[in-house]
């Protein structure tokens, strides 16, 4: 990481002053068992399975695996964006514990959307910004959705730490890929979510920039007390950061194709 990582040094001091809606103290954020998703039907189907996963508040972990192993699908499941297969047990400790599997069974799209809006932030590999909004408007979209004020100490800190103050009135098309990813991190953290899900956030960047973006994501999330799940095929980079690793392996079933995600340790 470069010398520009100064914000990390005083992170602990700032974290206290930032408003964190969900309790930042260590405790479970997600408890899930038998979480699964299946693409297609019959012999051509592909199954993604997470037998057991628990994520603590403020924890940073990585989901690793080859391209096509289903890392993004795990993020979709954790991000309340895709319905788990029947039999799943999935609790998300938001302000209060919420039975996510039950909400899916009830097809409570609205309630799931509200939970995503309040508790989750997303960072996509590319193109996670809306082209018709300025950087400032992109960063503030979840805050406007939640009725939060447009500017506060959290936003000021994020803008300073991500060094995007001069880009605020530009549109995504006018930014480099690295700048876009920094803005995406700001957007994901702007509303103080308890969980940030990042799908290959550094894969489109050159190695030096990739390290910097990953470091910024982790450090700013740790500061604000958000748990971070980074899906990536770059195992080396994850290990360099010393993250807990959930790794994909082929499914232990003779009749089905798929991936099983389990703790690598």
């Amino acid at each position: 990481m470069g010398s520009r990582m100064a914000p990390v040094d005083n992170a602990s001091a700032l974290a206290i002053s930032l408003d964190v809606p969900d309790s930042p103290t260590a405790g479970p954020l997600i408890e899930a068992t038998r979480l699964g998703y299946r693409y297609g039907t019959g012999s051509g189907s592909f199954e993604v399975s997470v037998p057991r996963l628990s994520i603590a508040r403020g924890e940073t972990l990585a989901i690793t695996g080859e391209s096509g192993s289903g890392k993004s699908t795990v993020l979709e499941l954790l991000g309340l964006a895709a319905p788990p297969l029947p039999g799943a047990h999935f609790l998300l400790y938001s302000a209060a514990p919420v039975d996510v599997a039950r909400l899916w069974r009830a097809r409570a799209d609205g309630a799931l959307a509200r939970m995503r809006a309040r508790s989750i932030g997303f960072v996509m590999q590319t193109g996670g910004l809306l082209p018709f909004l300025t950087v400032r408007e992109n960063i503030g979209i979840n805050r406007r959705l939640l009725g939060l004020p447009a500017e506060d100490a959290r936003i000021a800190h994020l803008v300073a730490a991500l060094e995007i103050g001069s880009l605020l009135d530009r549109r995504p098309a006018q930014l480099s890929v690295g700048q876009q990813q920094r803005v995406a991190i700001g957007r994901a953290l702007a509303h103080g979510p308890a969980l940030v899900l990042a799908d290959e956030p550094s894969s489109a960047l050159d190695p030096r920039l990739a390290d910097r973006v990953l470091g910024l994501l982790r450090d700013l999330a740790v500061e604000s007390g958000a748990a971070v799940v980074i899906a990536t095929h770059e195992q080396g980079r994850v290990r360099a950061l010393g993250l807990r690793e959930i790794r994909a392996r082929p499914l232990d079933a003779p009749d089905r194709l798929g991936s099983c995600f389990e703790d690598a340790s």
Binding site: S72, A96, L130, I141, L145, R171
Partner: protein, 449 residues
């Protein structure tokens, strides 16, 4: 125990999930819809112009249709006799019936008349020449045959004469002076010196003896030829009833020999009446209502029907063209919105992922469709003004009326705007359904694009 505990907690948590107020979301959806349109301003402009290109000719056509029909109607209305329901022959109309008809909302003017045979008098002009059998027409406030603001006879000794009669009497250039003769006649004093003084002569034959009554009249005004083109006197009903009573031998005049105001009130039944409808469309129903009581009537039904037929035909043509144009507009706009949803699927998926509900995302094409349609209508309005100006400049001069061939009222524009919004809503339905089904997972799944 454990399972029960867990399901109990699940129940509690799933349904105590706070339903946060999402008022800000609605404002944000509107803002997103508008900013997206503004960002794609060239595409948006094409759609707006497409809508305007369909709407502008429709507005012009509607304006022309209104203008043609209104011009025809005004031509008819310029002659108030087109509004008259003529009661034919002699009827027996009592005061209750007359009051009932007068109270109808489609009646503009009603005044009873005497029998036709008694509705004329011989006139002696100032030079003592006799004009035989001059028609006498009862009049009162609101008479459609008289120009608005005409001074009416204030007592039975005052009359208005038509222009043709005025010429025969040599009064046409003379300024009728209502002041002195009016007061003189009221006192029963003949005012022979006044040039506008006439004498009505009513004749009767009783027991084989020819008798006549002389009633002094003063002319207080002239009815223009455009209003009534024959010789006639317009006067109060009192004079007519008095003449009829004299012929019937029942006249009961006071000693001064003048017909008093309100003389007609003693009459309880009349042979005829002058009846006018409030508008062209009311003539038919009013005539039908009167003839339903066994009274024979005549109207200018054919003239009115021809205008109404033109109205119906042009309205039908307009509706067919508007329907085809509206359907084309809906298809064009609907297709554009549908393609827009497909093109922006990833962005819609991102919005779903960020926590916008399916309804909010479905609302985006609806809002955009309405904004495009609204802007299109605005552009079409400008096009209409230009086209209408050209029409009026080229063809308006040939019109007898105000020179406005194309006409659109506020009500027409309101209906047009409502229909355009309806078309926009229908058009955006398909796109809205498609947008509402975009899965939030697509925001992550199609990461590389």
């Amino acid at each position: 125990m454990n399972g029960r505990d867990r399901s109990g907690r699940g129940l509690a948590t799933a349904f105590t999930e706070p339903r946060a107020s999402f008022g800000p979301a609605a404002a944000e959806v509107w803002a997103l819809a508008w900013k997206d349109l503004r960002h794609d301003r060239h595409t948006t402009l094409v759609f707006v112009l497409t809508v305007a290109a369909i709407l502008a000719p429709l507005l012009l056509l509607l304006g022309l249709k209104n203008g043609v029909v209104e011009t025809l109607r005004e031509t008819l209305l310029r002659d108030p006799r087109n509004l008259e329901v003529v009661i034919y022959g002699s009827a027996r109309l009592d005061r209750d019936w007359l009051a009932e008809i007068a109270a109808r909302p489609d009646v503009a003017f009603l005044i009873p008349k005497t029998r036709t045979i008694n509705a004329s008098v011989d006139l002696l002009d100032p030079a003592k020449r006799l004009l035989p059998a001059v028609e006498v027409i009862p009049t009162a406030l609101g008479d459609p045959l008289l120009p608005p603001g005409t001074a009416l006879p204030s007592h039975p000794g005052e009359v208005l004469v038509t222009a043709t009669l005025a010429r025969r009497l040599g009064l046409m250039s003379a300024e009728p002076g209502p002041g002195a003769p009016a007061s003189g006649a009221e006192e029963g004093v003949p005012t022979r010196s006044d040039p506008a003084a006439l004498v009505a002569v009513v004749k009767r034959t009783r027991d084989g003896v020819s008798e006549h009554l002389r009633l002094p009249l003063s002319v207080i005004g002239i009815v223009p030829e455009a209003r009534f083109a024959r010789d006639a006197l317009f006067t109060s009903l009192d004079l007519l009833v008095a003449a009829e009573d004299y012929r019937d031998g029942t006249l009961d005049l006071p000693p001064d020999g003048a017909v008093p105001n309100g003389y007609a009130e003693r009459q309880t039944r009349f042979a005829n009446a002058r009846l006018y409808a409030t508008g062209l469309d009311q003539v038919g129903p009013l005539a039908a209502a009167v003839s339903a009581e066994g009274i024979e009537v005549r109207t200018q039904a054919e003239r009115i029907a021809s205008v109404q037929a033109v109205d119906r035909t042009l309205s039908f043509l307009f509706r067919v063209i508007a329907l085809i144009g509206g359907a084309g507009c809906a298809l064009a706009l609907g297709g554009a919105l549908w393609v827009g949803v497909e093109r922006k699927r990833r962005q819609l998926a991102l919005l779903r992922l960020f926590g916008f509900g399916p309804g909010a995302v479905a609302a985006l094409p609806v809002i955009q469709g309405s904004l495009i349609a609204g802007l299109g209508l605005l552009f079409a309005g400008v096009g209409y003004l230009a086209g209408a100006h050209a029409f009026d400049a080229v063809m308006g001069e040939n019109l007898a009326g105000g020179g406005y061939l194309t006409r659109l009222g506020i009500a027409d524009l309101g209906v047009a705007a409502a229909l355009v919004m309806l078309v926009a809503l229908v058009a955006s339905t398909a796109g809205a359904i498609r947008a509402g089904r975009v899965s939030p997972a697509e925001g992550l799944r199609e990461a590389i694009r």
